[in-house]
């Protein structure tokens, strides 16, 4: 990966990767591993990028896929993974952001199922139902109902 590629194709979209990876990791170390793996995967697969879609959508898709794959690997290796519920005091990432409400929201998001985490992140990033469905690889008709359900669950956890 040339530094040009990183500077022009990844760095401007780093926020997407950071936000996504934080939802699937419990520690800074894991987060950095996931971030690096996503960057590497974006570089590896950039030739497969379909110009009709937006580059940011591609980055979201790769980020989500890499996070899910790494979680699955960790699960297979018998390690703790982010969908294991850990009390916030045990999650290093509970203080990853400067804003306390945001940290609490992330803690709540980490308690959702793996796919629901992706769905709500994309919703919060103001992606349309169609885009969310494309990235997740599901039917757009169910997205609205699913988001409503996830939001209710998040409210319950946060309260």
């Amino acid at each position: 990966m040339s530094s040009d590629f990183y500077t022009t194709q990844i760095l401007p979209y780093a926020a997407i990767i950071i936000k996504m990876c934080r939802a699937y990791t419990n520690s800074q170390e894991d987060f950095e591993d996931y971030y690096q793996e996503v960057c590497l995967q974006i570089w590896r697969s950039h030739n497969n990028f379909n110009q009709q879609a937006e580059w940011s959508t591609w980055v979201y898709r790769i980020s989500l896929n890499v996070c899910l794959t790494l979680l699955k690997k960790k699960k297979n290796n018998g390690q703790h993974f982010a969908s294991d519920y850990l009390p916030p005091e045990l999650v290093e990432d509970s203080h990853a952001f400067g804003d306390e409400s945001l940290n609490q929201l992330y803690d709540a998001i980490r308690q959702l199922s793996e796919i629901d985490r992706g769905v709500i992140m994309l919703y919060l990033e103001e992606k349309s139902y169609q885009e969310i469905a494309d990235i997740i690889g599901t039917n757009p008709n169910n997205i609205g109902v699913r988001i409503k359900r996830i939001k209710e669950r998040l409210k319950k956890i946060l309260n």
Binding site: M1, S2, Y6, L11, A14, A15, I17, I18, K19, F31, E32, D33, Y35, Q36, C39, L40, R44, A96, F97, G98, D99, S101, L102, Q104, L105, I120, L124, K151, L154, K155, L158
Partner: protein
């Protein structure tokens, strides 16, 4: 009033300075350690399996009246374990010290050497195994009889004009020689196939990683 999750999200990231991308640092660090460790683990299991097999073959061959097979196979398996010990020591010497690329390159050199040695030795191993089994059976002792002699005697009843050479059927000897030649000729390929059965996943992954790393370094 309680904030909605949308507001928490927006405001949180506006205020937050946590969206600083981490530095990309030695991307292959964990991967390279993982692949080498996996190979070491598999190699260790493989060596143990060979030793166990050697100690099973020996008594079984005595019990079944073919002690030569057991003894010769025992010698062969132990020889393989001794040769593989050389590679085990080499593998233990490499350490993920300087960079992942150098670490994997050293590992790759050992693997290539291992494949080369395995290919070379397989040219002798397979003919050796064939001749061991054949002679072991031929000169064995089953129920007080020598199977080879019994076999020739039975053949002579059906084919009384059969050509014999040193008491062995000529066509049988020629067939065995042909098989020996074929095994010597294709032994290297069979050895590679055998090695690939166990390690092809790791070897392919290693090649891919080194290629990517070279591209990244360019």
């Amino acid at each position: 009033m309680e904030k909605s999750i949308e507001t928490i999200w927006k405001e949180g990231f506006l205020k937050s300075d946590a969206l600083v991308a981490p530095k990309l640092n030695d991307l292959y660090n964990q991967k390279s350690i993982h692949i080498v460790d996996k190979f070491k683990r598999m190699y260790r299991i493989n060596r143990i399996a060979i030793v166990v097999f050697a100690f099973i073959v020996l008594p079984v061959s005595f019990i079944s009246g073919m002690p030569y097979v057991g003894i010769l196979m025992f010698i062969l398996f132990n020889f393989i374990v001794i040769v593989s010990g050389k590679f085990k020591r080499k593998l233990e010497k490499i350490a993920p010290g300087v960079s992942s690329y150098q670490y994997l390159s050293s590992f790759d050199t050992i693997i290539k050497d291992l494949v080369r040695t395995n290919t070379k030795l397989s040219r002798y191993f397979y003919p050796y195994i064939f001749i061991t089994i054949l002679l072991g059976f031929w000169f064995g002792d089953i129920g007080g009889n020598i199977p080879g002699e019994e076999f020739v005697a039975e053949l002579l009843i059906d084919y009384p004009d059969m050509h014999l050479i040193f008491g062995l059927p000529l066509y049988g000897v020629l067939g065995a020689l042909l098989i020996l030649l074929l095994l010597a000729f294709f032994g290297g390929k069979i050895g590679q196939w055998d090695l690939n059965l166990v390690y092809s996943g790791i070897i392919k992954k290693l090649e891919k990683m080194i290629l990517e790393m070279e591209e990244l370094r360019a």
